[in-house]
């Protein structure tokens, strides 16, 4: 490590976040991201990493995608954040663009946050207003963000620290893929909404069993609760359709998109609201206010993101990247069957499962040493989040697989011992 980096890390500990800075050093990941381009990150010491983390799809279209940079530059010749009190050209234009491609026909409104958590809060507030009830059901180990209401829907890993967990029984959590538990939670007809990540990301992408999500939606209808689809990580073509919920045959009442919608260039998040549950927008349009939410420069970038991800070329490429990576990972899995034990996949949303309760951490480290950056799942460290970009080139995919095969082999030796494998 260079002197410059050592000094920088000291500053990071001193002024930014001592705990987080140190934790990465302890895990053997001394990454300080400097230059970035396409799906490459460059450490401040110059080492290149292929980014398979993408911050949950924020960099779906690559880092500093030239078309998004251009849109932002051109946009800034005319717009700034805008005045959130007034009808605004860019905010309305993005709302229309979203309505035109929304997963439900009556999803006409969009309310804006500056990040995913805020947009989740808007979704929950919207549901509570529409149903005049407080209770929200989410899944165990859910993750919807760190703002006031979003935090309470998730694992207490992030809320207890701040004495911010739910204490009033307004937030109920049920196990994923358990329809009976879901029905029990809804049976009292006192639930405003079920909030569901179409594929729970931070939990390591456990995949919904066939019929689970559509049946949750049916239960919502049966017990008069709304269905909020959190498409922050699964949306924007990552599952081969614009919104993953569409693949499971669901028309949500409310949908949240974030991260990737801002293309990694301007933070923005959107709560798309069905006409039937957006009553507050008519009753008291000033009910939710956000100076940074839906900043118009963000809207300009987001419209370009929506245009790009809906191109036919992108659809094809997502399929190629998914199929090609899967074929390669299957081969690697066959090489290390005692350690690399499963692949969860929907499109370019993938979770690699290892046969050790912290197995994804050494894999992450060895991939890092081999030039690939992929992160473990915070709430299930057996699983490595493996998230190639939508536009990844064939050459880069091949490069990733080459490095992953080496990295997993080394991690396996760390975990299982270096004696010869079964095959």
């Amino acid at each position: 490590m260079s002197e410059a980096k050592l000094e920088f890390l000291d500053r990071s500990r001193a002024f930014w976040n001592p705990g987080k800075t140190q934790d990465w050093q302890d895990m053997g990941v001394d990454l300080v991201i400097d230059r970035r381009e396409g799906y490459y990150l460059f450490d401040m010491d110059g080492r290149r990493l292929i980014d398979l983390h993408l911050n949950g799809g924020t960099y779906n279209l690559g880092h500093r995608n030239p078309e998004l940079v251009e849109a932002l530059k051109a946009g800034s010749a005319r717009f700034d954040m805008g005045n959130h009190h007034f009808p605004a050209l860019a905010r309305t234009a993005l709302a229309e663009a979203l309505a035109a491609c929304a997963p439900a026909p009556n999803m006409v409104y969009t309310a804006y946050g500056s990040g995913g958590g805020e947009a989740i809060d808007i979704a929950i507030k919207t549901a509570r207003h529409a149903k005049q009830r407080r209770k929200i059901v989410s899944i165990v180990k859910a993750y919807h963000g760190h703002t006031g209401l979003a935090l309470k829907t998730g694992d207490d890993r992030f809320s207890k620290l701040f004495l911010s967990e739910d204490t009033l029984g307004e937030f109920v959590q049920v196990p994923f893929n358990d329809l009976n538990a879901m029905e029990d939670a809804l049976r009292g007809r006192d639930v405003a909404a079920v909030i569901m990540e179409t594929i729970p990301a931070t939990y390591g992408f456990p995949m919904p069993q066939e019929g689970y999500l559509p049946n949750v939606k049916k239960l919502c209808e049966k017990y008069d609760a709304l269905y909020i689809a959190d498409e922050v990580q699964t949306g924007l073509m990552r599952c081969g359709e614009l919104w993953a919920c569409t693949k499971y045959g669901i028309e949500p009442d409310i949908m949240v998109t974030g991260k990737g919608i801002g293309g990694g260039m301007y933070p923005i998040a959107c709560t798309c609201i069905g006409e039937h549950c957006g009553g507050w927008l008519t009753e008291d349009g000033f009910g939710h206010i956000s100076t940074g939410g839906g900043a118009e420069l963000g809207c300009i970038v987001a419209m370009k993101v929506l245009e790009i991800v809906q191109r036919p070329e992108v659809r094809t490429m997502v399929r190629y990247v998914s199929d090609y990576m899967r074929a390669g990972l299957d081969r690697i899995m066959a090489e290390y069957p005692d350690f690399f034990i499963g692949i969860r996949q929907h499109g370019v949303v993938m979770g690699l499962e290892f046969n050790h309760e912290q197995g994804a951490k050494p894999v992450m480290k060895h991939l890092y040493d081999n030039g690939v950056w992929a992160i473990f799942s915070t709430l299930d460290p057996r699983v490595l989040q493996f998230k190639p970009g939508l536009l990844m080139t064939q050459a880069d995919c091949e490069e990733v697989l080459r490095r992953v095969e080496i990295g997993i082999g080394l991690a396996r030796d760390d975990v299982m011992g270096s004696h010869r494998r079964s095959a």
């Binding site: 299957d330 034990i341 996949q345």
Partner: protein, 523 residues
């Protein structure tokens, strides 16, 4: 109110947008090309046959459409060209294998075909569909992906035709994106496509500026310069047949093909006979005043009047105010000189044929060389002679890489009434500042990796008979876990090993062990 997707900030003309568009199309093609390399010959040819059938079926519809859209040529002739560039093209190459390795036991060399990857094909307005058919088929036969950039004047018919071929290809199992077309081919976008490192080779047919631009793109290019074919009718020729063939050639698609005869050269003692034969063959011989009118009409200060491209003789005569008999197929324009001072000695993509008489055979050759020095170097020429020494002398002197003998040059040079390779891209070679001097075919879109053994007799050659690179075929579809009909979450069987070794048993074994282990670990 219906939501509209509007653009508040339009960046479509920016470099970022154009490069982004080009990159996305080409990367999709690269993926297709990569997967295509996994295909075996049977599937490859099945795809080529399916696409050829679609091209054949659509020949008439797109011939009519092309004439309607561009105003060039004769629909019936275009239909014929569209047909010739479909099934017969594939049949012509049916016995040429661009997929399996070739073994040369004597030299101890094995040659493995390696497709170029992504072909960027520029197609012209004069032969839009035939060129498109041809380029798509030679790409598919060689397991290449193709991106077509059509001439803007033939955009609509080309886009529709390419879509039809693309669908036929994917229906037959070709990788998605193996055939793509640029729907709005502006010059800045085409330049981005040409300079992209994702383009493997540019196959350029069209105007000189475009071809030169392809060559200066920094990417490999196979470009084709303009034609300006001289045709020599010798005293040993069967003059009647020669006249008939030349009329047939010039009137075919009204000379929209660049292989058409441009300047006829003959000898004084043939002149009178040849004129009679031409009259019988429905050519009209212009007088001095007619020639003057033609010259003024066909050539502006800026060059050839593109209004006349592919127009019929009667139409051109009428535009010039020349009265010609009904049914006239070709206008013969006698000229006294060849060279810069005589525009009629330049390329004319219409049924007007310059007609020049010389005293001796040697002079015929120097005049023919002069025609090609003016334009069309490396392209085509024709000779009508029964004396093979004349043909040899002519062919070895003119700077053309194909000299058609006793046949219509339009069809003959393009390989349709000769045994030359049927093509819509005529390599103009070094004379024409191009890389290839023969008719372009699938063979030009493949390079070969050569396994070369030690030539020492004590080192024996391996037994490669029947060995194939791992043709693992189309990529298996990854599961969408939890979606009904998808494979669902489970460890899938590893894909068959792509090596030449039979790895099936080993893979099977691994899979079984993996499944057993997993079962144990879950308990």
């Amino acid at each position: 109110m219906e939501p509209q997707a509007r653009t508040l900030v339009d960046i479509s003309g920016s470099h970022a947008a154009l490069a982004g568009h080009a990159d996305m199309v080409l990367e999709r093609a690269r993926w297709a090309a990569e997967v295509f390399q996994r295909y075996d010959r049977e599937l490859t040819m099945a795809i080529a046959d399916a696409v050829a059938a679609a091209a054949h079926e659509n020949a008439e519809r797109f011939a009519d459409w092309a004439v309607r859209e561009t105003g060039f040529g004769v629909a019936a002739h275009k239909k014929l060209k569209n047909e010739l560039t479909s099934r017969p093209l594939v049949d012509f190459y049916r016995n040429d294998d661009y997929v399996n390795p070739r073994i040369d036991e004597a030299r101890k060399i094995v040659e493995i075909p390696r497709p170029a990857g992504v072909i960027l094909a520029l197609t012209p307005s004069t032969n839009p569909i035939a060129t498109l058919n041809y380029k798509v088929l030679i790409s598919l036969m060689t397991r290449n992906a193709i991106v077509i950039s059509p001439h803007p004047a033939a955009r609509e018919c080309s886009v529709d035709a390419a879509r039809a071929l693309g669908e036929a290809a994917t229906d037959a199992g070709a990788p998605d994106g193996a055939v793509q077309i640029i729907e709005n081919p502006g010059i800045p976008l085409v330049e981005e496509l040409m300079v992209s490192p994702k383009t493997s080779v540019i196959l350029a047919t069209g105007g000189t500026a475009m071809v030169r631009s392809a060559y200066s793109s920094s990417n490999p290019a196979i470009g084709v310069g303009p034609g300006n074919a001289p045709v020599f009718v010798d005293s040993t020729a069967d003059v009647d047949k020669a006249a008939k063939r030349i009329v047939e050639s010039k009137s075919f698609d009204n000379s929209a093909l660049c292989t058409n005869e441009s300047v006829l050269i003959t000898l004084e003692d043939v002149d009178a006979r040849l004129r009679r034969s031409f009259k019988q063959a429905k050519a009209y011989i212009c007088d001095a005043d007619d020639v003057d009118r033609l010259r003024r009409y066909l050539f502006h200060d800026r060059g050839f009047n593109i209004e006349c491209i592919g127009r019929d003789a009667a139409w051109i005569a009428q535009e010039c105010g020349i009265r010609v008999p009904d049914g006239t197929l070709v206008l013969l324009a006698p000229i006294a000189q060849i060279g810069v001072e005589e525009p009629l000695s330049r390329e004319k993509l219409c049924p007007v044929l310059a007609y020049h008489v010389v005293k001796r055979r040697n002079q015929a050759i120097t005049q023919a060389r002069a025609v090609l020095r003016l334009a069309g170097a490396g392209h085509s020429a024709a000779v009508h002679a029964m004396d093979e020494q004349v043909a040899m002398a002519f062919a070895s002197a003119v700077e053309a890489y194909r000299v058609v003998v006793n046949a219509p040059c339009t069809q003959g040079a393009a390989g349709f009434q000769t045994a030359l390779a049927p093509t819509f891209t005529v390599g103009t070679g070094f004379y024409g500042r191009s890389s290839i001097g023969e008719n372009i075919g699938p063979g030009h879109l493949v390079h070969w990796t050569r396994l070369a053994y030690n030539s020492d007799a004590s080192e024996s050659f391996g037994n490669y008979r029947g060995l194939r690179p791992g043709f693992s075929g189309p990529l298996p579809e990854a599961p969408s876990d939890g979606v009904p009909g998808s494979n669902g979450y489970r460890a899938r069987r590893a894909e068959a090993d792509a090596s030449v070794f039979s790895g099936v048993t080993r893979e099977e074994l691994r899979r079984m062990i993996a499944e057993e282990l997993r079962a144990v670990l879950r308990k």
